[in-house]
């Protein structure tokens, strides 16, 4: 109660001097779930960055001398152990590390490509725009897993992209694979934003004083689309993380051996553990994946609310 009164007084006092960015920040902070999500993700990131200290065992290290397989959660293995006696808690930390890397990098690549392609398509229109929309329509209409598997195999079979993509079950390959998919959604969002922005007066003014297309896109359109781009970024992070775990679940993910144990590998291992009733192997990795996906989605949702209202007020 006290906080809200104070907040009200504060916003009343400084109403005139708030920049749009500050207003957006306020709206973001008022989304309680998003703030909690930020805290959770921050803690997870810390846990993951300091993995050598926070994890109690190595990723492929067994907890104790055999018999050590399928131990229930206990003092020396907080979340239990898997079939060959490795600590699930430590493996989760390393798994989240790989999954976050995959999510972040492929989202960054796809947002970069998607913003450029979407901005150009939306701004120029015409043939390029038509073709791009048709292609992305088609790709997005197909069941995701089917396209993912086929594109994965095609990418792996073309020999001249091998130096860029690396081995088919490497983390690099997965990152590039999801970048190929991710940019399409981003491009559509940015295109829509640019289409609505380009009719605004200030763009017309820029054009009237003879600004080049490149200048207008770089200085006006992209900076003003930053809200939707940020939202797209969060959604492609989730898309890549859950997509990677889907792939790994069906056995097409990164190789688990050399430091590439991802959340997907752990969730995939859960498939076998379910029938035999080793619940911890299924519940904890699934829970972790759900927590990450939910947190990032909540943040994206709050970002959209924060930036959308700003547009509605016609700033």
């Amino acid at each position: 109660m006290h906080g809200s009164i104070q907040g009200f007084a504060l916003s009343n006092k400084t109403e005139t001097s708030l920049t749009p960015r500050q207003m957006a920040f306020r709206r973001f902070v008022s989304h309680r779930a998003a703030v909690i999500s930020c805290v959770i993700l921050g803690l997870l990131t810390l846990l993951v960055i300091f993995a050598p200290f926070t994890a109690r065992y190595g990723v492929n290290e067994s907890v104790q001398v055999p018999p050590n397989s399928f131990l229930t959660p206990r003092a020396n293995a907080w979340l239990g152990t898997d079939d060959i006696g490795r600590d699930l808690y430590s493996r989760l930390i390393y798994g989240v590390r790989v999954s976050l890397i995959i999510g972040l990098f492929s989202a960054l690549i796809s947002v970069t490509i998607g913003s450029v392609v979407g901005a150009i398509a939306g701004f120029r229109g015409g043939k390029f725009d038509d073709i791009m929309m048709r292609v992305t329509d088609l790709f997005l209409a197909f069941p995701f897993l089917v396209t993912l598997l086929i594109v994965r195999n095609v990418l792996g079979a073309i020999s001249w992209v091998q130096p860029i993509t690396g081995e088919m079950n490497s983390v690099r390959f997965i990152i590039l694979l999801f970048s190929i998919f991710g940019w399409m959604g981003v491009a559509r969002i940015v295109r829509g934003q640019v289409l609505s922005l380009k009719e605004r007066e200030y763009i017309e003014a820029a054009r009237a004083v003879g600004a080049s297309r490149r200048y207008i896109i770089r200085r006006h359109l992209l900076p003003n689309s930053i809200g939707p781009i940020m939202v797209a970024l969060t959604f492609s992070v989730v898309g890549a993380i859950t997509g990677e775990s889907t792939l790994a679940f069906f056995g097409y993910g990164p190789q688990a051996g050399d430091g590439a144990t991802s959340l997907g590998n752990l969730v995939g291992a859960a498939k076998g553990a379910v029938q035999t009733g080793f619940w911890w192997l299924a519940v904890f990795p699934c829970l972790m994946l759900v927590i990450i996906a939910l947190s990032v989605n909540f943040i994206g949702d709050a970002l959209r609310d924060a930036t959308d209202t700003q547009l509605d007020r016609g700033i």
């Binding site: 209409a141 069941p143 089917v146 086929i150 594109v151 792996g156 498939k271 379910v274 009733g277 299924a282």
Partner: protein
Amino acid sequence: MIRYILRRLAWALPTMLIVTFLVYVALRVGTNPVESYKRSNPRVTPEKIQQYIDINGLDPNYVLGYFRWLNNFLNGNWPRSIKGSREVWPALKDAMANTLRLGIAATVVGVFFGLIFGLLASLRPGGRRDIAINTGAFVGISIPPYISAILLQLLFAVYWQRWFGSSLFPTSGVYPAGHTGFDLFLMLKFMALPTIVVAIQIVATYSRYLRSSLLDVLNSDYMRTARSKGISERRILIHHGMRNALIPIVTVAAIDFGSIVGGLIISENIFSYPGMGLYFLKSFSDGDFPLLMPWMVIIVASILFFNLIADISYAWLDPRIRLE
């Protein structure tokens, strides 16, 4: 209107050809059919290989090969599967029947509950019920289908058995092993879990769709007019609100086909339900070109069909579109 439909239909055929050609090339590059044929049949003679290449249209020239394949496909001259040399059509037919049953059940259940939740949420926007439903839908969208599948399986099949002696739902197949004939009750029991997994996604999306669309409608002027005429609140909601709010949803529904199939593939795999999804994953990992191509043709045709329906229903509801 008829001219519009005919024009869309005239477009659908070339699109179909182009997309199947792309799929043909992608499958040939991605799964390398000749190699996988040799892998599955190690002692095969060169004549057999040549025969396999001919009937599948695996010409070195992709365009020529595609038309060879198309010719054989249209004439019903379908090659047999590379593993066990099975007929393709019976397998595909069974898979299709199973998946249609699952897909329709999940869609009906999902849309029904989705619309109910959406309606309940939009009656008092911002209220406690709205927040609960909205958060629930958000969680439902965020959870990938295989996770709900694993957790449901763990709870209802494995742990139910431990706690209560017998499992509530079976976890795999359409019928228990050795069962023959038709048994509706048994079938429903086996379908329950895979249906729920797909339906969760549908409920979550549709409750969100309906909520946003219904809120738009409820804030419009004609709703106020209806209220001022003294029509009962219930009649306003059903006759004016729902009717208009459902219009945009009908068009979205048709395009959602791809994501429902995606959910089905995952759900079928986890519950070993012998449908289109299991069919695809199995033949894909074998690199079984003769099994894969017809599957792809059916999927592409259904995607185009549902897109067509979306376009037509949109044009029917909004006459301005027809002029294009």
